[in-house]
């Protein structure tokens, strides 16, 4: 029963994040790149002021799977690095998202290489 409740929370938080994004697209005609940047920075900012962990405790993957989680990892890595020194403060962010970024680039390259361009279906 508890696992059901967890997944319900994940669904609710994840859905809420995405519907806020959709409202932004509908109201301001924002492009997807701008929406992604906005939510990434929002995630990083929430982590920087220490609020992200409370949302994460409640919504789990609902807030970490959207791009806000990517921003959170960047900020968290930088904050952790800042404890060690200035060098790690600058490199910590990228180091924290190294896995995801490498996956996006490597998988993206391979899959784009073997996929054929399809005519746009509307």
């Amino acid at each position: 029963m508890e696992i059901f409740l967890t997944y319900l929370k994940v669904f609710a938080v994840g859905g809420l994040v995405c519907s806020v994004g959709q409202i932004l697209i509908n109201k301001t005609r924002m492009t997807s790149a701008r929406v992604l940047v906005t939510f990434l920075l929002a995630g990083a900012l929430l982590e920087a002021v220490g609020l992200f962990r409370y949302i994460e405790e409640f919504g789990k993957a609902g807030i970490t799977i959207p791009i806000t989680g990517f921003g959170k990892s960047l900020a968290a890595g930088a904050i952790e690095g800042a404890k060690l020194g200035l060098y790690q403060a600058c490199t910590g962010g990228l180091a924290a998202v190294a896995a995801g970024l490498t996956a996006a680039i490597a998988f993206g390259f391979i899959i784009a290489l073997i996929s054929k361009s399809k005519p746009k279906s509307t």
């Binding site: 994940v10 609710a12 791009i67 404890k83 899959i111 399809k118 746009k120």
Partner: protein, 149 residues
Amino acid sequence: MQMDKKEYGELVKETTPKTKEGKTILCAFAIGGLICMIGQAFSDLLKVLLPAFDDKKIGALTGVVMIFLGSLLTGLGVYDKIGYYAGAGSVLPITGFANSVVSPAIEYNKEGIVFGLMAKMFSIAGPVIVSGVCASVVIGVVYYIIGLF
């Protein structure tokens, strides 16, 4: 590579799924929530399969799995069909980030591997990475300076 604002806007408009207003918000909620639940399921599964990994590594690996799925579904042409209905529900999850990398890469593959595929890969993901890395450096340096006192 130089691209003016209009060209860039057109490119984004082309890659953004066209959606009608109204029930778009509900669709975004349902599909966005569903993708997050799939992510949670992979996270729970990885935790069972790899008990030695800490939460941070599990989180990163979950991201890798979701990015792989997003790239694969984009390559198969399925993700764009989902995006037609889901709008932001398919853009905001990390699978949408993967989609934004793979989709232009496939489209410009015909212009050559270096200046087509490799360069255009970042036409949407580029701004995301640049803003994210710059923000992380600012946050890191601010925290470092605060830590000095």
